[in-house]
């Protein structure tokens, strides 16, 4: 009897103590692609898809930006964006109290198949990728803006405006 009760109580205690997955912290916003007056986005034939990525800003040399440098510091990315839409929301999970940069990267090869590859693999193939835009302050002097995530919160408004002729330069 005692043994059975101990097993039962231990079971309940163990199960009740564990909390499992909980809401995450991160940032969210909307990606805007250039569209004509009818809302149609004309993607260049060379680009097959795009994702939002974010990088550890502390590790970047902002005086000498390059795709390889960005690729090596990618912390995460979204699922491929819907290329038929002019705008779409996204979310990225990120830890609080660190500076990040977020941008949209398009690829000339099927981008879905490249997700999950080590950052080094992406970095050695810069020819596959084009940066379409970084999150920045509208009207600001800098082409980027650091993103900070608060404790237990989702930071909103991290919008990214894309340009198919964007050139990466800080």
């Amino acid at each position: 009897m005692k043994r059975s009760l101990i097993i039962l109580v231990s079971t309940l205690f163990l199960a009740a103590c564990e909390q499992g997955l909980q809401p995450v912290t991160g940032f969210q916003g909307t990606v805007y692609f250039p569209a004509d007056s009818t809302g149609t986005v004309s993607w260049p034939d060379s680009l097959t898809g795009a994702v939002v990525v974010f990088v550890n800003a502390e590790a970047l040399n902002l005086l000498n930006p390059s795709f390889s440098q960005l690729a090596r510091n990618i912390l995460g990315f979204t699922n491929p964006l819907d290329t038929s839409r002019e705008d779409q929301p996204y979310f990225l999970e990120a830890l609080p109290d660190k500076p990040y940069l977020a941008g949209v990267i398009a690829s000339t090869v099927p981008i879905g198949s490249l997700l999950g590859l080590p950052a080094d693999s992406l970095a050695v193939h810069p020819e596959y990728f084009h940066v379409l835009g970084l999150h920045h302050s509208p009207g600001g002097s800098l082409p980027f803006k650091f993103i900070y995530v608060d404790q237990e919160e989702i930071t909103p408004g991290i919008d990214i405006h894309c340009d198919f002729n964007y050139r990466l330069s800080f």
Partner: protein
């Protein structure tokens, strides 16, 4: 060489079988009534076998049985039924044509079946089996109210479900439904779809299931391909001897996530199902027909389904020694498609572009079985099954379809050669045809022969030796053959306690899906690999089993070494995924289970623990999608003769490796956690005709991922009833 071996085997079988068929039963009848020793009520469905012969039967609703054709002399009759102690009695037949033997059976506290049929393709006492076999009995099925049978398989020690794929002792991992290292049978007949080798668990209504047997370890020496990690045998219930109509229904809901940001829908997440059946016997013919419907809003976006099922069974007993039965299952299913969550912030939401994705799935599964006891020493069984499965995707990025047909026929002869040897011999042939765009059109043929000798070396020591050869060909690819032997030993320390040891080879031919799939699903691009070849395993196990009236316990140490293990691999240059014979692997572990009645209390306690060490030997890492530790417990309280309440707990340690989205060590994204699930099940029997049930699964609303970016079910509350007349 292999072809010659099989040819010799077929010729020998051809010589043996016609002679066997000519043998006619002769001898005497034994008849009697089996009753409950406490209540004195007759017992229906008691299994009776005559050890040393191939003969057996079951009692009817009035508890009466009859066995015909026994020769003169003494015979032991073994009576078994779940919830009763195994009973053996002796009858001596002299010149009388009919001898009477009545039997009283004593109720026990434990609900485990004592006889199993899966390990050796015939009825064998659990304590005599040289391999590990788990069972799920009728009472557990009725208590837990599963929508499909896979929902309750993880309550068995050593069995886990990962994304609908069954793992026995960590064998399968997760391959998105392509290929299975566990063979699934219905009444002894394979039911894996011929295109993907995947199991569609909805093919058999749970209301039609009498019990499930789980062979833990390779079964290829009897069952061939896919039985690499184990075999699940779903046994349907026999047709009742009296006319009855059964109506079952249940409804419930998933509770909303505790966190507002995770809530994806305002309307309740309802689930419901009903099933009605009628069965009757008209002389020597019995039949049952059933109709059912299931639907669910799902617990995640696009997780809905609607399903209709029609089932039928017919049996014909032209004589005491001959039995025919046939069955059919038809399933029409439509369900949403969910590949992975939208993002970690909204884990129950599907990506927006997939919201309209769904697929339709139609299945027809039929079987015709014939069994004949030609003499007390000789019995034949013939099984033929046809399975058609057709699916059509309606997804934003693909319209894949496949229609597969497989026809399998098998002849099995059981022969009690002497007091020491029991021989089983069988031939099997399968024809399959597939019409599909996702893996193209294919056809194939498989021929197989098997042999098994159960040799009682001493009254206490039993050896089982088996061998099976499979020869298969797909399209115009080369013919492939595989020989799979097994050897098992069982030593009875006492009537209730035994030791066992076994070694055997398992094999699995790659599925059509693994070899030929070419498709895109969400972000995954899959390309074909026609050169894939079969994977093999060599497994051993030592164990002990005790089964008494108040305690059952089983302990096994096991190890399986796999070669040419098939796994999905991402090409580092293109990012595409294909199935490859990548590696050698080894899974070693311990499997322990016990069931006992708490002294002085109407409480039954079940505890199971499984430890596995799943190693990828080529890469010196752990195999993906495995839980190293798993624990299952159930505390069942028998409140009175009418009510039962059961509190169940499942623990699975955190997966140590996944393949597509591993945990990001910097951001913590795609975090994996252990699984803790507490569930409550109960029923109350208002009258012999009416039973009501209650089930709450994931009582504490614990959140976890089943595999990367797929949440496990939250709390689900269900109530149901069963009414018969």
């Amino acid at each position: 060489m292999a072809g010659r071996r099989t040819l010799i085997f077929l010729i020998c079988s051809g010589i043996l079988l016609p002679g066997a068929l000519r043998a006619q039963p002769a001898g005497h009848d034994v008849t009697g009534t089996v009753t409950d020793s406490v209540s004195g009520q007759p017992l229906e469905g008691v299994n009776i076998v005559v050890p040393g012969t191939v003969m057996g039967t079951a009692t009817g609703p009035d508890g009466i049985y009859r066995i015909s054709g026994l020769p003169a002399g003494p015979h032991a009759l073994r009576f078994s039924m779940i919830g009763y102690a195994l009973a053996t009695d002796t009858v001596r037949i002299r010149s009388d044509s009919t001898v009477r033997l009545d039997e009283q059976m004593h109720p026990t506290a434990l609900q485990s079946p004592q006889l199993v049929v899966t390990g050796e393709k015939r009825s064998v006492q659990v304590t005599e089996s040289p391999v590990s076999i788990g069972t799920i009995g009728t009472s557990d099925l009725r208590l837990r109210m599963p929508t499909t049978i896979n929902e309750i398989l993880p309550y068995q020690p050593g069995v886990q479900m990962v994304g609908g794929q069954i793992n026995i002792r960590g064998s399968s991992g997760y391959t998105r439904g392509a290929g299975s290292r566990v063979l699934v049978l219905i009444d002894g007949v394979p039911v894996l779809a011929s295109d993907s080798d995947g199991m569609y668990w909805d093919v058999v209504p749970t209301t039609e299931i009498q019990r499930v047997e789980i062979l833990k370890g390779p079964g290829s020496a009897l069952y061939g391909s896919n039985a690499l990690g184990g075999v699940v045998n779903i046994i349907t219930r026999p047709i009742s001897s009296h006319a009855q109509t059964i109506l079952q229904g249940q409804g419930g809901l998933y509770t909303f996530p505790s966190y507002p940001s995770w809530r994806w829908r305002e309307a309740p997440l309802l689930t419901g199902q009903w099933h009605a059946s009628h069965e009757q016997r008209l002389g020597k013919i019995g039949y049952r027909v059933g109709l059912g419907q299931q639907s669910s809003a799902g617990y995640y976006q696009n997780g809905w389904f609607r399903r209709w099922s029609l089932d039928g069974k017919i049996s014909y007993d032209p004589s005491d020694n001959t039995h025919w039965d046939g069955r059919i299952f038809l399933v029409d299913d439509t369900h949403g498609v969910f590949t992975q969550w939208r993002d970690a912030h909204q884990p129950f939401n599907a990506p927006p572009e997939t919201l309209g994705d769904y697929l339709t799935n139609h299945q027809v599964q039929t079987a015709l079985n014939y069994s004949h006891q030609a003499s007390p020493r000789l019995a034949h069984t013939w099984r033929t099954t046809y399975y058609r499965k057709a699916f059509q995707n309606y997804q934003h990025d693909n319209d894949d379809y496949s229609t597969s047909h497989i026809l399998t026929t098998e002849w099995q002869t059981d022969y009690q050669a002497s007091g020491r040897h029991f021989l089983t011999l069988g031939l099997q042939a399968s024809l399959e045809s597939i019409l599909a765009n996702v893996w193209r059109d294919h056809s194939g043929i498989t021929l197989a022969g098997y042999f098994q000798d159960e040799w009682r070396l001493t009254p206490l020591l039993r050896m089982v030796f088996g061998l099976r050869e499979d020869i298969s060909r797909i399209d115009r690819f080369a013919v492939r053959s595989q020989l799979n032997p097994k050897l098992g030993l069982n030593y009875h320390l006492t009537d209730l306690w035994s030791l066992r040891a076994s070694v055997g080879r398992g094999f699995r031919a790659p599925s059509i899906a693994e070899r030929f799939t070419q498709t895109t699903q969400h972000i995954f691009q899959i390309v074909p690999n026609p050169d894939l070849h079969p994977e093999l395993s060599l497994s051993w196990e030592v164990g002990t089993h005790y089964q008494g009236p108040r305690l059952r316990t089983d302990l096994a140490l096991f190890s399986s070494r796999f070669t040419d293990f098939i796994d999905p691999v991402r090409d580092p240059r293109t990012g595409t995924i294909s199935f490859q014979n990548i590696t050698d692997a080894r899974i070693t572990g311990i499997d322990f289970s016990t069931e006992f009645q708490v002294p002085g209390l109407p409480v039954q306690q079940t505890i199971g623990y499984t430890y596995i060490d799943p190693r990828d030997l080529s890469q010196d890492t752990v195999l993906a999608y495995r839980h190293r530790h798993s624990v299952v417990t159930a505390t069942k309280v028998l409140l009175n003769r009418r009510a039962v309440l059961s509190l169940e707990y499942q623990f699975r340690s955190q997966m140590e490796r996944v393949q597509v989205f591993p945990t990001n060590p910097v951001t913590g994204a795609d975090r994996l956690v252990p699984v803790h699930l507490l569930s409550l099940h109960g029923f109350y029997r208002f009258s012999p005709n009416l039973t009501v049930r209650l089930a709450v699964t994931n009582l504490l609303q614990y959140y976890y991922v089943m595999f990367e970016r797929n949440m496990g079910p939250p709390r689900q509350i269900q109530a149901g009833f069963e009414y018969s007349w």
